[in-house]
Amino acid sequence: MPVFDLSTTPLRALNSALHALSQGANDTEFEVINPRGSHSVAVGIDTPITVEVRGSVGYYCAGMNDGGTVTVHGSAGPGVAENMMSGTVIIEGDASQYAGATGRGGLLVIKGNAASRCAISMKGIDIVVHGNIGHMSAFMGQSGHLVVLGDAGEALGDSLYEAKLFVRGTVKSLGSDCIEKQMKPKHLAKLAELLEKAGVTDVKPEEFKRYGSARTLYNFNIDNADAY
């Protein structure tokens, strides 16, 4: 297993090595030690490899991930897994602001808490947070699922499109056009699937509430035609 020690090896050597892999390459397991809060660790992966990061990372870890499995054995700075396309990113500690922002696919699991703007502008990514999330999370979320086992901060789901939000704890406040919605069997089934994928075994889908768009902001209302 190739090991990159970021206290002695430049970050670019790591990311270049990850980018140089072709589909079907033999080296599929990488380890990164001493990340010491470095930015952009393991960004732009586009092959199904695994990367174990031993320590805490800075901004944009595993950004644009397309098919890789990145595990951070520590906490992550702002923008972890930003714009993920596919694959899995697991943060064993906490994540800073805008975790999973603009993600188009894949699964982001945060085992601690996530700060503000988690899942902002999500576009298909699934995010499971074991702890709490901060304010303005899932702002303008378009599609995908955000599952929060703890509490949500202020203005959850403001200006939401069709992303589906599930919160087990309390929600400090809902943002504009975000409402609580009925939990139907298909939602419970999806929630069970996501919890299982995220390794959550002691929590039942029935313990969550579902939140989604009231669809009054992004749909054109014919009664407003005179305004234009």
Partner: protein, 301 residues
Amino acid sequence: MCGIVGLFLKDKSLEPQLGQLLSDMLITMTDRGPDSAGIAIYGVPATGKAKVTLQSARPDVDFAGLDDDLAAAGIDSAVLVKSTHAVVEIDADALSSIRGVLSGIRPDIRIMGSGDSVEIYKETGLPKDVVARFDVRSMGGTHGIGHTRMATESAVTTLGAHPFSTGADQCLVHNGSLSNHNNLRRELVREGMTFETQNDSEVAAAYLTAKMAKGKDLGEALTGALDDLDGFFTFVVGTKSGFGVVRDPIACKPAVMAETDQYVAFGSEYRALVNLPGIETARVWEPEPATVYFWDHDRAA
């Protein structure tokens, strides 16, 4: 952007290393802002003495014979020149008169800060150069804060660099930008505060000074800032015995804190904290938006 750091020591055995630790933290933050850098260090105060940190564009001229000229004006002093700055130690009861004396005998000198224990060093240039120029690594102390600047609201000058000090032993570093600083500055001027720059962060420092002058403690002053300051901010603030952190409610500007039995540390990023002793087992967290954190040596004692 801007990078800010702070270190508040609980363990006295670390005090000789304060300058060293803080220097490394600040240099790590260099790529958050290369325009100017500054550090405020709170040394152990000497009874009955006060310190004034001066800055001059012509240190060879202004600092030459300064102790003699102060003595002639009735102020005994010990002058320690460090590059463009000089720390003048005087009897505490001369602190109120030295500003007036200096404006007469050295009109071009700027006062960076004063008080029982604070020394403030700031200049344009990279943190590593600023740290080396003032030999910050050799300095000990109880707590300190630092800043590396990417200028947005005012010019890249020595006076525009952080920390800003607007009251005895008080200083502030700021990451962000304030939008109501002009109005607030007018109100503070009416209350008798004076300003050296057009910088927004100086207004924040003066705001806190004005609140504390009315008897509020640092925590109460920071709570007031959440109501009265409009804009983006993460502040780290030092007083003679205290150290505070507050972020605006939107909390765009990053902040990471770490606490052990030995210290409380602040960094704009976790990278700034990785060389601190025992960081592997420290409690590391992101300060909550609109929440005041502060620590005080006097209260802890």
